[in-house]
């Protein structure tokens, strides 16, 4: 049967067809849907882990017990998980272990554009890369076969365009689950103390050697000899872009991007006159091929940054082709993503702005508050960084920093990697204030469960962590819980906690406006009283989507040049603007 699937859906399907029944992940665009889809198949165990490192460790544990296990994350998640990944490369996997890295060329939804193919070389782990959803099921199956055959973790690398584009997938009959679980005691293999690790280190090199021989016959490294004048070496989605614009050239499409089939590449090079290496981001293939002494053209003409499309490839190779341009020359107002109507973060950042503090941000919807007019953040690096950075800045500034340094972090992000830095803050007696934006869900990636929600990915009830108890036990004495839409309570809590010596935490608690299990009942849309509005634009400072400016609506005896209006179809009645209006015009 043929169905249209996204790359992520196809990976989940392929894993199920391969007989995989165990997976762990932390959500992150563009990888999130893989576990969501996988969890729907019958007989599987799938879980959200608190972070990617834990997800990999959970998968390693399952693999050591004999399972075929999968750990899934976005590219930056592999940084978090790098520690176990580098050493499980030494121990091997017993069952099977596939780590999926979904990279994000063009940073559609990420803080950096790292090329995770480098991890394969760095950790000496083979890496497969499908070019689209149609190939994805076969590739995940091959990844598990390789893992079993060579007793190695295997990377499956996706990019946003593979994860989130759809193509026709042929469904196959799922393999029967074969329960091979049990205890295997082999301390010399699995206890990585120096004496054992030195031995395993040699095994890694033996495995590398065996893999390098194997890849020469690997069926997904494919040579397509067409026009012998020009040969293209490529992998993943760029193969499709190149094939689209230059269907007649010769191709070497690499299904395995590490290790490379050196003999095959030499053979290809001998059959064509001129070679282009087409790859997004780093010259990963190019540098290795050049190191073989083969002349190729790569990053001299292709960009280092952003994802490609067919046009990028044509323009690089056909230097004189005119670029397609828009005939419309006026500038168009942009549509930056915004916090939703009724979003609890809006209330928090509106109140926080008035304190003129330096705010360290974190990864989540609230990162959007950095834009005008809220301008809520002054730094944002990675998951969990806000707390350590606020602490470090506060210590460095000493007296100058008193009452002026804040870190803000979402509930899911706090549980991901905020607990250890908060412990550090408490232990080292920081003066910073941390605000946990607790909206009861992992909102940015689409409402995933976490230990603070009380449910698991498999929709089972779970023990819900009590944030206040947790934070108390870390050694924080000053803790306040407020509703961030309540401006009076929020402002006074922020003022009081900033004034205190020692670390403080405010838990700003209110469910995401889109959260289905929210205990907050939607209220009727608010209205602006045309007679009372003075046109001061204070409500517009909230940047709430339903509120807009209508110019030219004047009033006798008033200097106003227009009024604010609220779009009833968008307003969810949270009441924040009502509190902001000094003239009582909104109700």
């Amino acid at each position: 049967m043929k169905v249209l699937m996204s790359g992520n859906e196809a990976v989940a399907r392929g894993a199920f067809e391969a007989g995989v029944r165990f997976a762990a992940a932390y959500p992150g665009t563009p990888s999130t849907e893989i576990l969501e889809e996988f969890s729907k198949y019958e007989g599987v165990y799938a879980q959200w882990s608190t972070n990617e490192k834990v997800a990999v460790e959970v998968a390693i544990g399952a693999a050591l017990a004999g399972e075929k296990a999968m750990a899934v994350m976005k590219h930056v998640g592999v940084n978090v998980a790098a520690d176990p990944i580098f050493t499980v490369s030494y121990t091997g996997t017993n069952g099977a272990l596939v780590i999926i890295s979904a990279d994000d060329p063009s940073l559609h939804s990420s803080q950096n554009e790292q090329d995770n193919r480098n991890y394969a070389k760095f950790a000496k782990i083979p890496m497969l890369e499908p070019a689209d959803a149609s190939e994805a099921p076969k590739y995940i199956k091959l990844a598990f076969e390789l893992s079993e055959k060579f007793d190695t973790p295997v990377f499956l690398r996706l990019t946003t365009r593979v994860s989130h584009s759809k193509s026709v997938v042929t469904l196959e009959e799922p393999a029967k689950y074969n329960d091979k679980t049990g205890f295997i005691y082999d301390a010399e293999k699995y206890v990585m103390v120096p004496i054992n690790a030195r031995t395993r280190r040699l095994e890694v090199e033996n495995r590398q050697k065996a893999l390098k021989e194997f890849v020469e016959t690997f069926a997904e490294n494919k040579m397509e000899i067409g026009n012998p004048e020009i040969g293209i070496i490529t992998a993943g989605m760029p193969y499709n872009y190149a094939k689209e614009v230059f269907p007649d050239y010769s191709y070497l499409k690499l299904g395995m991007v590490y290790p490379l089939p050196e003999k095959m590449i030499r053979d290809f090079a001998s059959r064509v006159k001129k070679i282009y290496v087409i790859e997004e981001m780093d010259p990963f293939l190019e540098e290795q091929i050049k190191a073989m002494g083969i002349q190729v053209i790569g990053k001299e003409i292709f960009p280092f940054t952003n994802e490609f499309d067919p046009g990028v490839i044509r323009n690089a190779i056909e230097k004189n082709s005119p670029e397609a341009v828009s005939p419309y020359k006026e500038s168009l107002a942009s549509r930056p993503p915004n916090l939703c109507p009724g979003c609890p973060h809006r209330g928090l950042f509106y109140a926080l702005k008035k304190e003129k503090a330096y705010v360290h941000g974190d990864i989540g919807c609230y990162t959007l508050s950095y834009m005008k007019p809220l301008e809520g953040l002054h730094s944002c690096i990675c998951m969990g960084a806000s707390i350590g950075m606020a602490h470090g800045m506060s210590k460095a500034l000493k007296e100058k920093g008193k009452g002026k340094v804040v870190g803000v972090i979402g509930d899911s992000t706090f549980l991901h990697s905020g607990i250890t830095p908060l412990l550090d803050m408490a232990y080292n007696n920081s003066d910073a204030l941390i605000i946990i934006l607790d909206n009861s869900t992992t909102a940015m990636t689409g409402m995933q469960e976490h230990p603070g929600t009380g449910y698991t990915l498999m929709k089972k009830e779970a023990k819900k962590v009590n944030l206040k108890d947790l934070i108390t036990s870390l050694g924080i004495d000053n803790i306040k819980i407020i509703d961030p839409i309540d401006q009076k309570a929020t402002r006074s809590a922020i003022k009081e906690e900033l004034a205190k010596d020692g670390p403080s935490v405010i838990i700003a608690q209110r469910p995401c406006a889109l959260f289905k299990r929210s205990n907050i009942k939607p209220k009727p849309a608010l209205k602006v009283d045309q007679d009372k509005c003075e046109g001061c634009k204070a409500c517009l400072e909230l940047n709430c989507p339903p509120i807009s400016w209508k110019s030219g609506v004047t009033k006798e005896g008033s200097k106003r040049k227009g009024i604010a209006v609220i779009d009833e179809t968008l307003c969810n009645g949270c009441g924040l603007c009502e509190q902001v209006c000094k003239f009582g015009a909104i109700s």
Partner: protein, 193 residues
Amino acid sequence: MSDNEVKSILFAGVGGQGILRASDIICEIIMEAGFDVKKSEVHGMAQRGGCVTSHVRYGKKVYSPLAEPGTVNTLISFEKMESLRYLNLLRKDADVIVNTEEIYPPAVNLGVASYPDDVISFLKGNYGKVISFDAGELAKKAGNIKTANVVLLGALSSHMSIDRSIWESVIKKSFPEKLIKMNLEAFQMGINA
């Protein structure tokens, strides 16, 4: 269509307008009609009121899910000014279908930028056939404003040589029983528009 010809449709609009759903439906229809098809969009940040696009490409064998700039055959814009944002992707003779509904971006809402007023005449002066109508109004007549995306699919169907029975059978499969009649009506409104 010649042997290797691949056609591209570009969907454009604003998050929340049902663009991804509509482009999913069209892909099913194309697949049922026996073509290879790929589509591409980016999820994530775009959900929060940002711009949304979806490329749909079909033919005998499709490689790229993204259209090369300058090659899109049909633009279907779910919002008026969004039809101007991706014109570098269009062929000069492209057909354009535009929903004339206006959704103001924040800068226009705040009164610091203006909403373009010459959209339809500009498109008519520069491209092939341009069809513009208020899909929301037609959707309301069909019974629910949320069917605006199906109204637009109806308009698109007149530009594609795929049997009407395939369109209808896929639309029927795509919605729960009680919403089928309303969506078929919306589809017909789009054909007539």
